[in-house]
């Protein structure tokens, strides 16, 4: 007899992802869907897609959804949550969306302790628009707008959103993870679950930053991209749980 262990979660629509081969967006989508399945809140959850490669996220999740203007997902989520505090709202955002144009909105949603959850994909690049520098691009890294490599003097430094956000009092859960190994994937799932629990339990704002690859714009195959992430992004963006007011699950 075959016992089913792992399959497409119910909270995914089953529609094929539009991501490039090996792109980590897909892994994180699945994790979110698993968490929502496990919490049994699919029918009460609203997804706010960003603008970025994951602009189509509203099609991939099997729940009510919309797209926020670039960077404004936390504001959109705030509007939803304030109007319907009985529902659960999460935003899914890239590093251009969240750390560049959306800086004010994420900082203030966090500071207000808005009871929403944000999954933040840090791939150190603008994927959707073709590989321009993101605020999180590493120093020296070549992108289509830093053709000579990112130069701190001209282009500024990599931006550490978790480090900023840990100073916001409304944050209930905050962690940085990666998904380059099956073990990391499990850890990320746990973090995502806590970020949702922060909302479900009404404690406050929850955010998980997932360091991710963009094989296409990094100009690497998917496997090399993961290696590059390990070697270059981890030193700049140390993993860890920055804030945890959720406590351990029973």
């Amino acid at each position: 007899m075959k016992k089913l262990l792992y399959k497409m979660p119910e909270s995914l629509s089953g529609k094929e992802f539009t991501y490039c081969p090996g792109c980590h967006h897909g892994i994180v989508h699945r994790l979110i869907a698993e968490v929502i399945d496990e919490l049994g809140i699919r029918e009460k959850t609203l997804v706010v897609a960003p603008i970025g490669c994951s602009v189509f996220a509203y099609q991939f999740f099997n729940m009510d959804g919309t797209i926020a203007a670039h960077g404004r997902a936390p504001a959109v989520a705030t509007g939803m949550k304030r109007a319907r505090p009985d529902l659960y709202v999460f935003t899914y955002q890239g590093d251009g969306d969240l750390a560049a144009i959306g800086t004010a909105e994420i900082m203030h949603a966090a500071n207000r302790g808005e009871k929403v959850t944000t999954i933040f994909i840090n791939n150190a690049i603008y994927g959707m628009t073709g590989g321009q520098m993101a605020p999180t691009t590493l120093l020296g890294m070549k992108t289509t707008t830093t053709p000579y490599g990112r130069d701190a003097q001209k282009d500024g430094y990599p931006m550490h959103m978790c480090e900023f956000l840990k100073e916001a009092k409304g944050v209930a859960y905050l962690a940085r993870t990666k998904v380059t190994t099956p073990q990391d994937v499990e850890k990320t799932k746990k973090a995502i679950k806590k970020a949702f629990l922060a909302q479900v339990k009404g404690i406050g704002f929850g955010l998980v930053e997932v360091l991710s690859t963009c094989p296409t714009n990094w100009g690497m195959d998917p496997i090399s991209a993961m290696k590059w992430l390990e070697e270059n992004m981890i030193p700049e963006y140390p993993l860890g749980v920055f804030i945890d007011k959720v406590g351990d699950e029973k």
């Binding site: 089913l4 262990l5 792992y6 992802f17 081969p21 892994i27 195959d221 496997i223």
Partner: protein, 73 residues
């Protein structure tokens, strides 16, 4: 300890041939298919299914949710 016997299915039409599952599988069950799918990729194929231990690593790493994992009981 009796070895757990696993079984996986890969939705090859959905697969984009990224190879993440191949890298993740501890028992080297999976490899690329020689043929193309209709997207033009060489999809992953469970070539040595008998080695599968149902660990789910392939499932966990697959960015396109192509893999279903079962345990033979």
């Amino acid at each position: 300890m009796p070895k757990v016997k696993g079984y996986i299915e890969i939705d090859q039409e959905r697969c984009k041939g990224c190879g993440l599952c191949i890298k993740a599988c501890p028992t080297k069950v999976i490899d690329f298919s020689e043929s193309f799918n209709s997207k033009g990729y060489h999809p992953a194929e469970a070539k040595y299914l008998d080695r599968c231990i149902a660990c789910g690593f392939c499932y966990r790493m697959c960015p396109d949710v192509c893999i279903t994992v079962y345990r033979e009981e």
